[in-house]
Amino acid sequence: MMFEDRKWLPIILISPVNALLALLIALPSVYIIWLSLNQSTFGSETTFVGLANYAQIFSDPIFWRSTINTFIVVNVVVYTELALALPLALALNTDFVGKGLVFSILIAPYAVTEVSAVVMWRYLFETDIGMFNMLLQSFAGFQLNWVRNPAHGLTLISILSIWIHLPFTLIILYSAISTVPVDMKNAARVEGATEWQVFRTVTMRFIMPAVLVALMFRYIFATRLFAEAWLLTEGGPARLTEVLGIYLYRAAFRYHDFGAAAATGLAMQMLSLLVASFYLYQLYKRMQADG
């Protein structure tokens, strides 16, 4: 009997989940792959065009500019978030007066919708009357001219994205740091380790898997960057601040060129997979090393 050797039981038990995953992830993915090989728009028959959509986007200089912009912004955002979240998470793992309030303030941006956040930051950095730009002008002698200067535009997109998403990395690292055994740290101190050595050899060793998970997830989410960039600059001026999310949006919702949009989506997915695979490999190596 099939159930007697219980070999099939685990497969049967997890099959509903696999079916759900197939329905929600695999089927749409297959559809997108198929769509990327077709010319498709409203009011027209879908026609098979082979790799023409890929040829179209890969020969478009704006696609490559968007890819480079995405790469720059994603790296700036992800590593700045990590650089800020790590000391903040360490500080929050100590006891001080008003810790709860500080923690609430730090994670509050995560509760703000992206649209509201962009509107707020847009007016704070308005070139004529923006409060932050006026302060910058007074104290630093320059403004963040994000409407005219593409580098400034990408900078503001990065600042905004970091502000919104910092709590995600912070919470993951805070949780990881709070699980580091105090005994281990004390033992290291008894052995004469400095605080820096304790942090490097004990704390970091324990939290490294969490750091890798946070980096991987933020890379994947950040590659899909859209709302902040679209609502702030719409990719302008001259499409010089365009990121892949905007490139895809234009293809799908402005030009109704669904084949090119699907091809762009798959290119974005490949980019995410490429980055994620590196971090997954690092995680796998650590798990192997830890037995």
């Binding site: 409203f42 009011g43 027209s44 001026p237 001259a238 109704h256």
Partner: protein, 430 residues
């Protein structure tokens, strides 16, 4: 079957019957509901107070419930076209703007000729032929014009008086006044002499039209991007931008920014549709309520054959998705909405009336102060460019090239030569 099982079966049957009842009630409710997708302004002019809620009156008379779905312009068309491509839709009536009309219309929307023959629209012949032609594909009519938005010159009379600048009578005077009206107040507030809604071929073509009746794209798809008239137009706008007459934020302008700038007195004049008159003069939002006037955009001294500039007019039409289950009722709604009487009532609510006779009505004369100026502008206005499948991509290319000009990366001639070369292959004739 024991008592407990009997009870359970009874409860189950009751539940199924209740669900069936709810489902059938829902179906009945849907049959009475007419879903309309459009912009908030379409709802406002159809249900407003000054001219009356003619849409609501129609719904009451027909025991129907109107379900308005309102979005911004691009999202209206994305949703409308997407719904029209499904096997069925809950959208019964859609508003579509002329620049989104394209040859795919017949695959998505109901041809209206048979409806028109069975239940005619009152004084149908009064509807502008040019608009009806733009809605005709393969000899069949796919939409009924409802609203026009013609560009006007909005003037903050308080700022003009303060600076001693007279109302410009020619296009040259307009440019001169815009420069004189660009100044910084004592409190540091920068006032810009002229505002434009955003960067688009339509808006920059206004400059070519006012100066020399130039065009960007003719109705028969002749691309004139690098014609002397268009090169001069974008060059003029770039000069205004570089001189600070147009704000730096123009590179990122959205319609609401123009409204905010004007309401706060940070803009002295704006070229924007006549309908904005109400926004600029809104006493609850504007610091200069009652101080704004809307006049027809003046033409160049050298332009002959026109009293005012032959500026852009955009228009909206009512369409019925082919897959709607409620087409007869949708047609009845459209007939009612575009009747001569309701065109007048919508105009009183702030709509741009597509029937010229509406401007002769006393209610419009009394309640729409800019009506004579709008009528004059409309008499020579024409759509900035015809709709085609790749119009959005063409617009983006134009904006990209113009932005490079504004950033000083190329000359006006180079920008328009590049736009010409990149847009040409996207046109239907190619």
């Amino acid at each position: 079957m024991n008592a407990r099982t009997h009870k359970m079966v009874g409860e189950l049957l009751t539940g199924v019957m209740a669900a069936a009842l709810i489902a059938s009630t829902g179906t009945i409710a849907n049959a009475e509901e007419l879903s309309i997708i459009g912009h908030a302004v379409h709802q406002k002019v159809s249900t407003g107070e000054a001219g009356g809620n003619f849409a609501g009156e129609w719904a009451e008379a027909n025991s129907a419930e109107l379900n308005w779905l309102t979005f911004n312009v691009q999202d209206i068309h994305e949703r409308l076209y997407r719904e029209a491509n499904l096997s069925s839709t809950t959208i019964d009536v859609g508003f579509a703007a002329n620049r989104y009309f394209n040859p795919q219309f017949p695959a998505m929307f109901e041809p209206l000729d048979d409806y028109l023959a069975r239940a005619p629209i009152e004084d149908f012949d009064e509807l502008p032929k040019g608009m009806l032609d733009a809605l005709t594909f393969d000899g069949k009519l796919y939409g009924i014009p409802f609203r026009h938005a013609t560009a006007a010159l909005h003037i903050n009379t308080a700022i003009l008086e303060e600076q001693g600048v007279p109302v410009p009578q020619t296009f040259e005077e307009l440019l001169d006044a815009a420069r004189k009206l660009t100044f910084k107040r004592d409190d540091g507030t920068q006032v810009h002499g002229l505002l434009l809604d955003f960067r688009s071929p339509a808006i920059l073509t206004d400059f070519a039209r006012a100066a020399s009746n130039g065009d960007f794209l003719t109705p028969d798809f002749q691309l004139k991007a690098n014609s002397p008239a268009m090169v001069k137009a974008v060059e003029t706008v770039a000069e205004l931008f570089n001189e600070g007459v147009l704000p730096e934020a123009f590179l990122n302008f959205k319609t609401e920014d123009v409204i905010t700038y004007m309401q706060q007195g940070r803009g002295a004049m704006a070229i924007s549709p006549f309908g904005r008159y109400r926004n600029f003069n809104n006493p609850e939002q504007s610091q200069f309520a009652g101080k704004f006037e809307a006049v027809a955009v003046p033409k160049s001294e050298s332009l002959e054959g026109f009293d005012v500039a032959p500026i852009r007019v955009e228009f909206w039409a009512l369409v019925i998705p082919k897959n709607s289950d409620n087409k007869e009722q949708a047609w009845d709604y459209i007939r009612n909405a575009v009747s001569p009487e309701n065109t007048i009532r919508a105009a009183v609510n702030g709509n741009g009336p597509v029937r010229p006779s509406a401007y002769n009505d006393q209610r419009v004369k009394d309640l729409v102060p800019y009506a004579p100026a709008e009528q004059a502008a409309l008499s020579v206005a024409r759509p900035p460019m015809p709709g085609f499948s790749e119009s959005a991509r063409a617009e983006d290319i134009f904006i990209e090239e113009v932005d490079k000009l504004f950033l000083g990366l190329q000359t006006a001639q180079e920008a328009m030569d590049s736009a010409q070369a990149r847009i040409e292959p996207l046109l239907p004739s190619n």
